[in-house]
Amino acid sequence: MAADPATGSATRGGTGWRELVAPLLLPSWLVIGIFLVVPVALMATYSFLTKDFRGGIVWQFSLDAYDQFFLDRGLFGDEPPQPNWNYIAIFWRSIWQAGLATLLCLVIGFPTAWFIATRNPRHRALWIFLITVPYWVNLLIRTVSMRFLLRDQGPFNEALLALGLVDSPLRIINTDVAVQIGLFYSYLPFMVLPIYAAVERYDFSLSEAARDLYAGPWTTLRVIVLPAVKPGIVAGCILVFVPSLGAFLAPDLLGGARTYMIGSLIDEQFRGSAGNWPFGSAAAMILLTMVLAVLLWHARSAGREQR
């Protein structure tokens, strides 16, 4: 066997994995293809089918689901179509709740990530460990804990009453505020971790140079640091925004009927005989389109910056 001049190895095929690429990737393609790609395609099909009155579907093409989502044709469906604000309002609430949660996570998460990344290298792993533990704890349990804490007679209100800060318990549960707190709390670690990774790689001599040239600390942060760690910030924002948009547990356990978000709206369509599978599929399709648009925008802008 002659030595390959490129690798200096006697085995021509290097490690010998190249000709096995297809069989090695086949299991992931098959599993994800059959149990995720096909189901999503099927869901897209369902969104164009007719609803069966018992909560199932009839295999007949129809645009009813999307029509019901965007247009209001009156109780009997014979009035001239008006824009239907009910569902659009639910989507709009999801968008601003997710956006606000992202902003709050950024405001708390960036300083935290910065603080940890500027600690003694030997202690950083421990700080990051502290941030990761809650991420590993079951999200349902975390949300239930928050509900327990914020109840009308819960420990948070008891503490406020005992401190004399309020005269009567604050009504937090079942409001948009509770849902917001829940989203912020659920996804906060997702903001800290990527920003931390970016700050850790940041070259602090840049800050030093800026300060030498008489830039104030906050100007340095804004003009030098933020652009340098922007990829970490954008990644963190996406990791918070995307799951918040389709969140189910926080709005369901902390909110009420008036704080509906997309997740609860979709869930409701598949519960029992009152459901509407085509409509639920259409709402899920709209959510999926929004999420993929965000991810695609991110992939393209990240690709452009690399070039």
Partner: protein, 269 residues
């Protein structure tokens, strides 16, 4: 030197870090404390007691929770193991396969479960199983879990694999090891910390899942999160706080384990 520490320090960042950790931990600590409350009411403190922990194991709802815990753990074990095997194969192809056609598409497919919102996966999977006429239950939960666990197992494994030089395997191959021997005796032991991290992450992600499981579990089938959710809908009872605390401790042990394995892996490199 003073100048040097100055550029790293911003006024108020320490306070915000403290706030961040407070927000993350206070709800968990409060529930853990109240799980030891002797009082039946969940509001007033009635002294320290293990009553609710005993209740979890031998109380009225104990059989439900025991069955749910068994389902959760066995599904997580099987799903994590299957996902890890699939992920190792994929990671080897992606990092050792050179520049092949469809590499980017393969990466997109593997990360797809991370990009599609959970509620969408849940709905789509339910529709899929209903359409092909499969009864939802243990099997459908397991299949769904294997699918969404693949990227979680893949990420730590491929990260580790990227850090292992090809020269070890090349040396083994030069000495007439078969491809399989080179993998089993050289690559796999070097890859082990990544495999374990990937498995642990997949295990905890499977154990954590509520939304997808809730859609594909079928009637009468419960995992711990769905059983807890069902119970919480009728109000938070003290035994739920005890279960929550047990799961909390379980998760904390798991993270510590994965953290230590990662550290050992980094030292060995």
């Amino acid at each position: 030197m003073d100048m040097y520490s100055n550029i790293r320090r911003y006024r108020g960042f320490g306070v915000l870090t403290a706030l961040c950790l407070t927000v993350l931990y206070v709800p968990l600590i409060v529930v853990a404390v109240y799980s030891f409350n002797a009082s039946r009411s969940i509001t007033a403190w009635g002294g320290f007691s293990f009553e609710w922990y005993v209740d979890v194991f031998i109380g009225q709802e104990a059989p439900i929770f025991r069955a749910a815990a068994w389902n959760s753990i066995s599904i997580a074990f099987l799903a994590a193991s299957a996902a890890t095997v699939i992920a190792v194969a994929a990671a080897v192809a992606m990092t050792r396969g050179g520049a092949f056609r469809g590499r980017q598409a393969s990466f997109a497919v593997i990360s797809l479960p991370l990009m599609v919102p959970e509620i969408v996966i849940a709905v789509a999977t339910l529709i899929f199983f209903t359409t092909i006429g499969v009864r939802t239950g243990y099997g459908t939960i397991l299949i769904a879990h294997i699918t969404f666990c693949i990227p979680f197992a893949y990420l730590p494994i491929s990260a580790r694999l990227q850090g292992i030089e090809e020269s070890y395997e090349l040396a083994a191959r030069d000495l007439y090891a078969t491809r399989w021997q080179a993998f089993r005796l050289i690559l796999l032991p070097l890859l082990m910390p990544g495999v374990i991290s990937g498995w642990l992450l997949a295990f905890i992600i499977s154990l954590d899942d509520f939304i997808i499981t809730n859609f594909v579990k079928g009637a009468g089938m419960e995992t711990l999160p769905t059983a807890i959710f069902g119970s919480v809908k009728q109000g938070i009872k003290p035994n739920i706080m005890a279960i929550s605390t047990l799961m909390l401790v379980f998760s904390a042990v798991f993270v510590t384990l994965s953290y230590l394995i990662n550290r050992i892996g980094q030292k060995a490199r």
